[in-house]
């Protein structure tokens, strides 16, 4: 279990992380998201002690990271694997040598190293590449090697720093599936730092949203998405939609058999018309969510709100002239 409490970090006078607190349970996949430069990579590095912090605490299974000596920290890092955006492999060495490197640093007998490398290559699907120099591999293959290297010491936690940001969508999907498989079969806690919402959608159980060094959203992915807070909206936003008139609500609900006719049912039951300004469907892991922005007659506003409540639909009234990012 990773527990971060009131963490503060600054570079000189520049505050990077302010009063960060959250807990990640064993075996979860947690997305650490935010726009670039909000300090998510720095936060990730506080977890394995690559970055120090000014105040607060980071504990893993009850051990405070900042209390460890350099030697203890090195040993502790066996328990935490890490992969990077640009793979960080030694290009002139073979796949075997790259994966064996951590074990060589820990003086593990050659026989064991051989067995372990083979096992990891099987897991990552690179058995035929064992003697290929890593510079001759594709991006996706390189990241697989990096994942294998991160798993050599049987870690309990895997940190991923923008691990798919340099990959094309198809390869990203493959790597994410591999991570999901590792999470399920090896019971490894995975923390993914990313600015891509698609990564969160595909594999994350929990999500922590950072903005200006603060945690602004934290919870199960579907809960956070249902809430659809302004901060999440600012992060996800792509298109801008300006609301000029009317009484507008953003509503979000989970798709299931009981409510696939929700929108039409609402109009019939409330005996009112409304217009749909925007609609979208998004998938989080196995669940699909529909989001609509609707313009409703002001006289019926309270009826609609009650109806949203009764049907477990999350809603938020949009202000006029507010730049609505959809």
């Amino acid at each position: 279990m990773i527990k971060i409490n009131q963490l503060n970090k600054s570079f000189g006078t520049l505050n990077i992380l302010n009063d960060i607190s959250f807990t990640i349970e064993r075996g979860r996949i947690c997305g650490l998201v935010g726009k670039s430069g909000v300090g998510k990579s720095t936060l990730l590095r506080c977890i394995n002690g690559l970055e120090s912090y000014q105040s607060g605490s980071v504990t893993i299974n009850g051990v405070e990271i900042s209390s460890l000596s350099k030697k203890e920290l090195n040993s502790f890092r066996k328990n935490i694997g890490m992969i990077f955006q640009h793979f960080s492999l030694i290009d002139r060495k073979t796949v075997y040598d790259n994966i064996a490197l951590p074990m060589r640093c820990w003086n593990i007998p050659k026989k064991e190293i051989q067995a372990r490398v083979k096992e990891l290559l099987k897991l990552t699907g690179l058995e035929d590449k064992i003697n290929v120099k890593t510079r001759n591999l594709s991006g996706g293959q390189k990241q697989r090697v990096a994942i294998a290297r991160a798993l050599t010491m049987n870690p309990e936690i895997l940190l991923c720093d923008e691990a798919t940001s340099a990959l094309d969508p198809k390869t990203t999907k493959d790597i994410l599936n591999l991570l999901k498989m590792i999470n399920e079969s090896l019971d490894i806690t995975i923390i993914v730092v990313t600015h891509q919402m698609s990564v969160v959608r595909q594999i994350c159980d929990d999500v922590i949203l950072l903005e200006d060094g603060h945690v602004v959203e934290n919870g199960h992915v579907d809960e956070v998405f249902m809430r659809y807070s302004p901060a999440l909206e600012r992060f996800v936003g792509v298109d801008e939609l300006e609301i000029k008139s009317g009484c507008n609500y953003r509503i979000t609900f989970k798709q299931d058999i009981n409510n696939n006719d929700f929108m039409s049912r609402m109009g019939v039951e409330l005996k009112s018309v409304y217009s749909i300004i925007y609609s979208s469907t998004e998938q989080f892991k196995e669940n699909k969510y529909d989001t609509y922005i609707i313009d409703i007659p002001e006289a019926f506003e309270s009826d609609f709100v009650n109806y949203f409540r009764q049907n477990n639909v999350s809603y938020r009234k949009l202000l006029l002239n507010e730049k609505e990012e959809t």
Binding site: M82, R149, L159
Partner: protein
Amino acid sequence: MRYLPWSEILERIIFPSFLATIRMLCVEIFLAVFFGFVIAITIYITREDGLHPSKVINTALNALISIIRSFPFVILMVSIIPLTRFITGSSIGWKSALVPLTIASTPFMARMFENSFKEVNPALIEAAKSFGASDFQIIFKVVVVSALPSLVSGLILCIIHVLNLTAVAGAIGAGGLGASALQYGYQSFNNRVMYSIVFVLMALVILIQFMGDRVYKKVR
């Protein structure tokens, strides 16, 4: 000046001085690589974002390198004669020449190596830290390993540079090809000797470069 037949030039001048040059070159390269490597590593780890930042050591070593490198070799050689005499007990001969040669080429070697280390991607070092490598392991299992091709090409450059210096060192009685070209060739008005030695030096440089390139390709 009596006429020297080719066999005599080869046997009595070129061959012994060739051996003398090779001997001086080998010992000297060994010393310069050793000291140069130690200095380069020290500068590298004491950099601002290095493994053990130390502004004092870093600035001092950088200044030292720049100062020594600013000396023309001939001047350096004569100006440190007292030191040479203190270390080797004499100021002439090939062993004595090793002192100025080492002092002149170590900073060159160190700068070369340091540049190679600097090229190593810092993300690689971060990755090594993330799996718990010690500083020693980071240097020798990651930095040196990744920088090896670049170290090799730097080394080749240095060897040829040092070969040139050994020829100059002939001026203080170091012996070798440079000294012979000067003494039996130029000063004895014997162009045959002088140009044949120049030819040997040329061949030596080409050979070193050729072998160096092969090694580079192998370790790339």
